[in-house]
Every structure is written in structure tokens, then in C-alpha cells.
């Protein structure tokens, strides 16, 4: 009787006994993510489930990511099948207004320049000795786009999913801190004060409806491997602009996006199991992710300077920094920076145009990457 009592009691403490130092560190990391999300308001919608997932997966004997475990079910059903990032994209499309981009289509090119960091980081990762597919997953952090990073990483380097996702979402929330110094270094006082004209309204409702259909057909024919991403974002946008399926649009931008964000966050956290996550290469990936975002900003602003030169000063180079996918944060950063040097300078709508161009650009860059890999017979 007493021995049964004692063995019953000892089984209750087994979790403590099996707790490794890696588990303890990762539980602490999970708590830090929770703190950043709750207290500092850094991407709370993601950091709270990610942080909690990291705590859950590091509880010994809980088996959350073992075959049959709760988080394993979510992970296999949503991440490995790529369903979660694609559903998030429907929501993003439903929330995005491409109007400012359609008013001034040439700023779409800034959305291309803002993706160069992806490829330059890929090169850096290769130089540092990462395998080809790992380098692709690390480079994609430069898309500054969580769902795209998750989609590509889960396809080619699922073992890096935790580090890549944390880097992608973490640096996205740090855009207001990362970008301004680079913008200031690369531009002159005169360039920062350039006022951009607001063109007359020229995007008709019909154009806004046709745009997602045409973009889907054209881009998916250019890079068919990106069809799930581009198709879903444009489906969401078509629903929004057509106005005939408002229930679906609302569901996409609210209920579906919210449920998937919760499950996706938990799944990312679930990849942060101590023994797998605590490696020197994780730190390297976080460092390369930071470099990727910096390079995006550098190439975006430099391309903005080129456009400023070619248009004889009609484009403010600062809006080049908004050519990344962190929407609408990057656009707000441009507006704030511009107004520091001329408080009557309203760059917001132009920056929003470049920012939505960055969304298309990041998906396009990933699609091209996937298609080139397929063409090379890799992956």
C-alpha cells in the first residue's frame, strides 16, 4: 500500500526529473516571447501562441509533438500540407487595398528591389556553409513575410521552421527600429524632402476587380510553383473588390485568419523543442535574417534613389524602404521619417503603394525561387 502510494507520488514528479537544461532554456525563451507579445505589443497575435507553443513542447513526457500528440496533429495537417500559410494569404488578400499601387504602377518596381535581400542572403548562407535548401529557407526571411517564409521553409527545410519563422516575424515587428537608420544613411537631406504629387484618381472599380485575376494568370504562368501563394492572396483580394461575397471576405479576414493564426503560431512554437532549437546554427539564422531585412531596405532605398534620378526628382527615395512585405508597418515608417524632415510631406499613400507592391514582390520572388529550384531538379 505504502509502496504504491510512493510510486504514485514519484510519477507525479517525473516531469521535473526529466527536465533538461535545454528544456528550461526554451521554456524561458517561450516566456520571453510571451512577455514581448503581451507587454511590448510586438506582433502579439503571433508571439503569444508561438511563445506558448514553445512552453508546451518543452514539457517532458507531454508528447505534444510526438506522433499522436496534439501539436503534431496541427503541424502535420496544417504546416506540412502548406494549408495554413495559404489560408493566411486569403485573409491578407481580403485585407489589402491595391488601389494606391494601381494609381501609380511604376512603384511596383520598388516591390521587386525590396526583395533583393532574399537572394543576397541566400548567397551569404551558402558562403557560411549551409546546404543549398537550407540557404533557400534562410534567404526567404528577406521576404519579410511570415506565411511565405513558412511555406518555403516547410517545403525545403522543415527542420529550420522554428528559427526561420521566429526570425521572419520577429524582424517584421522590428522594422520601425531597423529601417530608419539605413534610410538616413543612404539618402541626402534634399532627397528626404522630395514631395511626391498625388495623381488623379485613375483606378476604376472594374480595374480593381480585374487586377487580381490578371495578376494570378500572368504571375502563375511565369512561375507556376508559386500558384498556391499568389492564387490565394489574389482570391482574397478578388472577393474584397468584387463586393459580392462580403460574408466570405469577412470570414477570410476575421474568423479564418484568426483561427489559422492561432494554430500556425502554436505549430511554430512546437518546432522550438530544446534539443533541436538550441544550436549555434539557430543564432546564425537569426543573424542572417537580420542581414536580409537590412539588405532589403538598402536595395529598396537605392532603387528609390535611381528612380528619383530617372524621374528628375519626382520620387522620394524613402518610399523604396516600403518595398518590403511588412504591411503596413514599412509604409508607416516611411511616412514618419519623411515628416521628420518636412512636416507637410505626405508620403503615406505612395509608401502604401510600394508596400503592397512589396507583398506581390515577395510572393513573386518566392515563386521564382521555387520554380528555379524545380527547373534545376532540386528539392
Amino acid at each position: 500500500m505504502i509502496s504504491a502510494f510512493l510510486s504514485g507520488l514519484s510519477s507525479m514528479a517525473m516531469g521535473f526529473g526529466l527536465l533538461t537544461i535545454e528544456n528550461i532554456i526554451m521554456i524561458a525563451v517561450g516566456c520571453v516571447l510571451l512577455y514581448l507579445g503581451i507587454k511590448k505589443d510586438y506582433e502579439p497575435l503571433l508571439l503569444v501562441p508561438i511563445g506558448f507553443g514553445a512552453v508546451l513542447v518543452n514539457i517532458p513526457l507531454a508528447g505534444m509533438m510526438e506522433p499522436g500528440g496534439l501539436l503534431r496533429h496541427f503541424y502535420d495537417a496544417g504546416v506540412m500540407t502548406e494549408i495554413f500559410p495559404c489560408l493566411i494569404f486569403v485573409g491578407i488578400g481580403a485585407m489589402t487595398d491595391f488601389g494606391p499601387l494601381l494609381e501609380n504602377p511604376k512603384i511596383l518596381l520598388l516591390g521587386a528591389a525590396g526583395q533583393f535581400g532574399i537572394f543576397l542572403t541566400l548567397l551569404l548562407a551558402l558562403l557560411l556553409g549551409f546546404s543549398q535548401l537550407d540557404a533557400v529557407a534562410i534567404g526567404i526571411i528577406g521576404a519579410c513575410d511570415g506565411p511565405t517564409s513558412i511555406y518555403v521553409t516547410s517545403k525545403y527545410a522543415p527542420h529550420l521552421l522554428g528559427a526561420v519563422s521566429v526570425a521572419a516575424y520577429g524582424y517584421m515587428s522590428l522594422v520601425p527600429l531597423i529601417q530608419p537608420p539605413i534610410m538616413r544613411i543612404l539618402t541626402t537631406d534634399r532627397e528626404r524632402k522630395v514631395r511626391m504629387e498625388y495623381p488623379k484618381k485613375s483606378a476604376s472599380p472594374a480595374l480593381k476587380i480585374i487586377f487580381p485575376v490578371v495578376v494570378t494568370i500572368v504571375t502563375c504562368l511565369i512561375a507556376p510553383m508559386g500558384t498556391p501563394l499568389m492564387g490565394m492572396i489574389m482570391l482574397g483580394n478578388l472577393m474584397r473588390e468584387s463586393g459580392v461575397v462580403s460574408r466570405l471576405t469577412k470570414a477570410s479576414e476575421n474568423e479564418i485568419a484568426n483561427v489559422v493564426t492561432l494554430l500556425l503560431g502554436l505549430c511554430i512554437g512546437a518546432t522550438m523543442e530544446g534539443a533541436a532549437f538550441l544550436k549555434p546554427q539557430t543564432l546564425l539564422i537569426l543573424g542572417l535574417g537580420f542581414i536580409a531585412i537590412c539588405l532589403d531596405t538598402v536595395t529598396g532605398v537605392l532603387f528609390g534613389k535611381l528612380m528619383c534620378f530617372l524621374t528628375k526628382g519626382k520620387i522620394n527615395p524613402l518610399i523604396g524602404a516600403a518595398g518590403i512585405s511588412a504591411y503596413p508597418m514599412a509604409a508607416r515608417v516611411v511616412q514618419t521619417e519623411g515628416r521628420k524632415y518636412d512636416d507637410k510631406n505626405w508620403l503615406l499613400m505612395h509608401a502604401v503603394g510600394a508596400n503592397t507592391g512589396g507583398q506581390i514582390g515577395s510572393v513573386m520572388a518566392a515563386a521564382i525561387m521555387l520554380s528555379v529550384l524545380k527547373g534545376m531538379g532540386i528539392g
Binding site: 494601381l102 504602377p105 511596383l108 537572394f119 543576397l120 541566400l122 495578376v215
Partner: protein, 50 residues
Amino acid sequence: MDTFTFGITMTIVGMGGTMLSLWFLTLIINLLKRLFPYRESEEKEKEAKS
């Protein structure tokens, strides 16, 4: 494929392909703007609908 060739190919095709694709899209948008020009009446109709 060796790492050097892979890296250079991905970088050049990736950056060039992204830029060219989006440049092509800007041409298409400009064409669509000519085919479906903005009319104030259409906008008002849409607002009334929503």
C-alpha cells in the same frame, strides 16, 4: 550542381526574374487602366451597392 553555380544562378535569375516580372505587371496595369478608365459614376454606383 556545385554550390557556387547554384548560388549565382539563384541570385541572378531570382533578382532578374522578380524585377522583370513586376516590370511586366506594371505594363499590364497601365494597359488595363486604358481599357477600364476611371469613371466617377462607376465609383458612386459601387459605393451605393456597398
